[in-house]
């Protein structure tokens, strides 16, 4: 049986088709999920894609967080279903409190699109087991509100529990606390990050690297073995 990975489309999602392509290239079956539909259609895992859901109006992710599909995803995530939030998806995850903290406007106040180097800090999550701790990867980054922040206690907790999954290397592109690029929940099934691994899955397009593919193969392995 093939593994089914759902990719949610909110109004204004942009990288949903890219996420579907990445899922397919990793060998799983991408399933399109619609924001108004509570039903997850028997998917084994969910990707919340990048983009500007609801135009990022109010705050990035603030409006989509209340969509019907999110109610089910929040429920399932608490029960252990792997959920990956990329960029806007990460913002949705913090807004829905599946992940702690919040995202602020980049400290330079501009949208930034660049090839970003990251260090893998945690290779035990559902989405990172195909990486090695300490491994450096490069994936595209593109956002306006990517500066991760949280209160000092939360940061301490994240650091102490090894829940910072990725850190920016060489350049901190937005002023994120502790160079944090991505984090996980305590159970390790929910991961959010600002850079876009789904844009680094083919040698031809984007930055011409495939450093992002292990995200999608990781979850596949985890689901097959569980």
């Amino acid at each position: 049986m093939t593994t089914r990975v759902g990719v949610v489309t909110f109004p204004g999602s942009l990288d949903d088709r890219d996420a579907q392509r990445a899922v397919r290239l990793a060998g799983a079956e991408p399933v399109a999920l619609w924001h108004r539909d509570k039903d997850l259609h028997q998917v084994d895992a969910v990707v919340l894609p990048g983009g500007f859901s609801y135009g990022d109006y109010l705050r990035a992710g603030a409006i989509s967080r209340f969509s019907p599909v999110m109610a089910t995803i929040i429920e399932q995530a608490r029960l252990g279903m792997p959920v990956l939030g990329i960029c806007n998806g990460f913002q949705v995850l913090t807004e829905s409190h599946l992940l702690p903290g919040a995202m602020l406007r980049n400290n330079h106040l501009h949208f930034i699109c660049r090839d970003q180097k990251l260090r893998v800090e945690n290779a035990t999550t559902a989405w990172t087991s195909d990486y090695q701790v300490g491994q450096e990867i490069s994936v595209p980054l593109k956002n306006m509100d990517g500066r991760y922040t949280a209160d000092p206690r939360t940061i301490e907790e994240l650091e102490a529990e090894g829940r910072v999954v990725f850190r920016y290397v060489d350049v901190n592109p937005n002023g994120s606390i502790n160079d944090i690029a991505g984090i996980t929940n305590a159970a390790g099934n929910v991961v959010g990050l600002m850079p876009h691994p789904e844009h680094a899955v083919e040698p031809l397009v984007g930055t011409g690297r495939t450093d992002g593919l292990p995200f999608f193969t990781s979850v596949l392995k985890q689901l097959v073995s569980s």
Partner: protein, 83 residues
């Protein structure tokens, strides 16, 4: 130190996509009875000196030329009391 607040709102005839998005979302979240929402900016300025007429005039000028884009926005300047 004294605080002056500059509120900047889109002119009424100008489209406010953000306010509209909020307005459309509210009923979905169960908040009804809200006929219109406009979203603007609020600047809190802490002055070094006293908030006298001269200071307010300068802030009004800053609002006019810089904080607000008067092609599409209106602004109001007021001294925050009780802070």
């Amino acid at each position: 130190m004294a605080r002056v607040v500059v509120d900047v709102m889109l002119k009424p005839e100008i489209l406010d996509p953000q306010g509209q998005a909020v307005q459309r979302a509210l009923p979905r979240l169960g908040f009804t009875g809200i006929a219109d929402v406009r979203q603007g900016k609020r600047f809190e300025l802490e002055l070094e000196g006293p908030v006298d007429d001269a200071a307010l005039a300068r802030i009004r000028e800053a609002a006019e030329t810089f904080l607000a884009n008067t092609v599409i926005e209106d602004f109001t300047v007021r001294v925050e009391d009780g802070q």
